[in-house]
């Protein structure tokens, strides 16, 4: 390490980048030549392709799992930033305002800080269990994202029993919490882990029973199909037919994610940090991320089951076709080749002319502005205009993009609700919480199932 840093000490910044690159290129090309000459490379490539073709499902699963894993990290950063900023507003504070615009990079910096901290294993802990616990917790919550439909066709793995898979994978998270609590060699951790187990047993039931009404109405456990059933505007969402289930599900989801007012697992005024007391560095980071990913996932499931998933509030297709726009706009309708040599005008002429036009307009309107300033602002505005046009075109052409915008918008609105609840409420005592789960939520969920089933029978048997 010291030799490498010594040899790099005299280099410029560009040299520090280019020299290792040259070394890597040389090594890669030499290795490639050897592989090609000996024939190993060709057979290796063929074998890879054949295996891939034979196991396309597995490849797809791996790719989707990697995708959701990569998605969760920025999502967690956004939720942490939301939490910092929204609770700050509720507390009459400013919140983070140092790194990035309006402190938007504060959560990213917190993530980097967690990465750079010492990963400390205290003496006396059960090392393998202690090490594995954060991974179990994080992966269990991330893997549930596989069956959530983000947009039409954008679903990690379409399962017929998607909902069952969701709850099965999601419940594994508590094993991680219990592992952390048990192995940490700390009584506060132990109590936190046991509280997590007790709470999950109590709240998993109303959470699952709350979704049964929707399942009965939809007639399927496939989440993609449940979302498709809710197409066509806000009045088709299951929230109107299942308001009680929505309430039960949301409350139970709050408990399941361990959020205020049910954040007894890491109650900081009682159990210091609960199951995560002995953790530091990125292992603590995994617990931290898992909490926020859980919040997002449960919001996403609420949106999927009750709030129309990726469908918009209004079905815009009839309006658009009324004014002559067919959606999705077919890409084949636009043939750039038919423009001939004028095609060159698009990249070379349009941006300068647009910039100049806007700059001239600004120069005429804003008396105080010089020519250079108008030109700069004009360039900026022209780019924004082009970007906006391209975005609208993309939104109209790709159903998936529109779907993901709606889905994310609704999910993050619900996340905001979770965050605001944290600012507004104190913690519920554990026995009150258990009473609430077993004496109120469970009977309400069962009642909801009976009423829904009865209504379905009445509608299908007698009214049709």
């Amino acid at each position: 390490m010291t030799a490498a840093s010594n040899s790099q000490a005299g280099l410029s910044t560009a040299g520090k980048i280019i020299l290792p690159l040259i070394a890597i290129i040389v090594v890669v090309s030499v290795a490639g030549t050897i592989l090609w000459v000996t024939g190993v490379g060709v057979s290796l490539a063929e074998w890879t392709l054949d295996t891939g073709k034979a196991n396309i499902e597995i490849l797809r699963f791996v790719a989707a799992a990697t995708g959701v894993l990569l998605f969760t990290i920025p999502a967690a950063f956004v939720i942490i930033y939301m939490e910092l900023k929204i609770i700050a507003q509720m507390n009459l504070r400013v919140g983070p305002d140092r790194t990035g615009p309006w402190g938007a990079l504060a959560s990213l910096m917190a993530g980097l800080k967690v990465l750079s901290k010492e990963d400390y294993t205290p003496r006396g802990v059960d090392v393998p269990v202690f090490t594995l616990a954060p991974a179990v917790t994080f992966l269990a919550s991330v893997l549930t994202l596989l069956v959530i439909p983000f947009a039409p066709g954008m679903i990690g793995y379409e399962m017929e029993l998607g909902l069952i898979y969701f709850f099965a994978a999601g419940s594994l998270g508590v094993i991680g919490l219990m592992m952390a609590g048990w192995s940490s060699f700390n009584k506060y951790s132990l109590l936190g882990g046991l509280r997590a187990a007790a709470a999950v047993i109590s709240y998993e039931l109303p959470l699952i029973l709350g979704t049964f009404g929707v399942v009965l109405l939809a007639g399927t456990l496939n989440l993609g199909q449940i979302v498709e059933n809710q197409a066509g505007g806000i009045w088709n969402w299951y929230a109107w037919q299942q308001p009680l289930a929505l309430g039960i599900f949301f409350i139970a989801a709050t408990a399941e994610a361990g959020r205020t007012p049910f954040d007894y697992t890491e109650a900081d005024s009682e159990l210091v940090a609960g199951f995560a007391t002995e953790y530091s560095g990125m292992r603590f980071g995994f617990f931290f991320f898992a909490e926020y990913v859980n919040v997002f996932i449960l919001s996403a499931l609420t949106v999927t089951l009750f709030l129309g998933g990726y469908h918009g509030i209004l079905d815009v297709d009839p309006f658009l076709s009324a004014i002559g726009v067919e959606t999705p706009v077919e890409l084949s309708n636009l043939d750039p080749g038919s423009l001939g040599p004028w095609l060159l005008a698009i990249p070379f002429l349009v941006p300068p002319i647009l910039t100049l036009a806007i700059a001239a307009l600004l120069w005429m309107i804003k008396t105080g502005w010089g020519f250079i300033k108008s030109l700069l602002v004009g360039f900026l505005l022209a780019n924004l205009l082009v970007g906006a046009i391209v975005s609208i075109w993309a939104l109209l052409s790709f159903e998936a993009l529109m779907g993901i915008v709606w889905f994310m918008g609704k999910s993050f609105a619900l996340v905001g609700l979770f965050v605001m609840m944290r600012g507004a409420y104190p913690r519920v005592r554990i026995d009150q919480m258990m009473n609430f789960a077993w004496k109120w939520l469970m009977p309400a969920a069962l009642l909801n199932i009976f009423v829904t089933a009865g209504a379905i029978i009445i509608v299908t048997e007698y009214l049709s």
């Binding site: 507390n91 009584k187 109590l191």
Partner: protein
């Protein structure tokens, strides 16, 4: 408790063999038991374990350490361990002269130090039989009541924070911040004011203080009503505190409690009315009491008391006489040999001092009666049978300040 101890490797240094229980789930008494009670406490029944709360814990309000014997989430018994903040204030006061005692007693009640610093002042005035200028008396009452409000605002926030609410503590601090800023304009300090003097106060009212006070008084009532609304109508907060930690008046009187925890049981004992001092007899205010004796009653009482304090401040500002703020005293203050007990109603109850003078310029004995110490004693009987989360709410509702308890 495991009976057979064997030699195991120390968890701190594997090279050392120690004779100690190998796991944290075994009982580890601190020393050989000193009392019968301690010997009984450190015996574990089946299914019980010890949980050591503090001295470094987020919600023990300082450096209180409570060893709890718990069965699952239920608390079987508690053993508070005091002394982590002991500085020997009483003895230090005996080694300085009477003026030094003011700054030495200042940090006793660090959330409302206007009260603890008044102890040597009141005691010395009683021993000297000194007439304090009326303006100084009114300024003292003004400062006391402002400090009472700032302390009570903090109490409300702390109670909510220990129940898991994040927002009220910052509302309380916003209120406290304004008061502390105006007291800083008056005294030059934000926390330990050192403002009271034997025979008066250190400095007259100034323009900045009065303008800040007028500005704040115009919206203080609205603020406290807003904060009360935020918490009184919060279902979870009410359910957590109602019926929690119920004290009856015999127990409270027997433990020597005072202040809001005593008044919440229905005893209208307030030093300002029971043993009037300063100019309180000339002012109109009520002693709010509640009969429930639970945490919720204590919380409501604090809200009521803030309103009464606002009433007192309003009257004081209207009645404020002109004149000097210090009595004429010799520079070297020798106090005639005698003994005196002076008491003051602090935000936490009766703050008293029993002072003996031997005729020199130093107190011969300076015994401080701290209300937090007596109020905290109720934790033991109140927390038995409660769940772990509730001991925080009980402790917060008794509002202990460790500076005064450990002295």
């Amino acid at each position: 408790m495991t009976s057979d101890r064997e030699q195991v490797r120390s968890l701190d240094d594997p090279e050392i063999m120690v004779q100690t229980p190998a796991t944290i789930y075994d009982a580890i008494p601190p020393l050989t038991p000193r009392t019968e009670r301690e010997a009984e406490f450190y015996q574990l029944e089946d299914g019980e374990m010890f949980l050591n709360l503090g001295p470094q814990h987020p919600s023990t309000h300082g450096v209180l350490r409570v060893v709890m014997k718990i069965d699952g989430e239920r608390i079987v018994d508690v053993d508070p361990v005091l002394g982590y903040l002991h500085r020997g204030v009483e003895k230090i006061c005996e080694y300085g002269d009477w003026h030094h005692a003011i700054s030495n007693t200042d940090p006793l009640e660090y959330a409302a130090s206007m009260f603890s610093e008044a102890l040597p002042v009141l005691a010395a005035e009683q021993l000297l039989d000194l007439e304090v200028p009326r303006r100084a008396d009114y300024i003292r009452v003004l400062a006391w009541e402002l400090n009472r409000i700032s302390s009570h605002a903090l109490f409300i926030g702390w109670l909510a924070l220990d129940l898991g609410g994040l927002t009220p503590i910052l509302y309380g601090f916003a209120e406290r911040d304004e008061i502390v800023e105006m007291l800083a304009a008056l005294t030059g300090q934000k926390l330990l004011f050192n403002y009271m003097r034997i025979g008066g106060v250190n400095g007259d009212l100034n323009h900045e203080f009065l303008s800040r006070l007028g500005d704040w008084m115009s919206r203080a009532g609205e603020h406290i009503n807003g904060q009360a609304k935020l918490m009184n109508e919060n279902e979870i907060f009410v359910n957590r505190t109602k019926g929690l930690g119920v004290l009856d008046r015999e127990t409270a009187l027997g433990l020597g409690m005072s202040g809001p925890p005593l008044r919440a049981t229905g005893v209208p004992y307030d030093v300002r009315r029971a043993h009037p001092y300063s100019v309180y007899p000339e002012l109109e205010f009520d002693i709010p009491t509640r009969s429930d004796g639970d945490s919720y009653a204590r919380y409501l009482l604090h809200i009521e008391e803030i309103k009464q304090s606002l009433r007192i401040i309003d009257q004081v500002l209207h009645k404020m006489p002109d004149g000097p703020v210090m009595a004429k005293l010799p520079r070297l203050l020798r106090i005639p040999p005698n003994r005196a007990f002076a008491a003051i109603e602090s935000p936490r109850g009766q703050y008293g001092v029993y002072a003996v003078s031997d005729g020199s310029d130093q107190p011969f004995r300076f015994r401080i009666h701290d209300p937090s110490f007596f109020n905290l004693q109720a934790v033991g009987s109140l927390s038995e049978g409660q769940v772990l989360a509730d001991i925080m709410a009980i402790m917060a509702s008794l509002d202990p300040i460790m500076g005064g308890i450990d002295k």
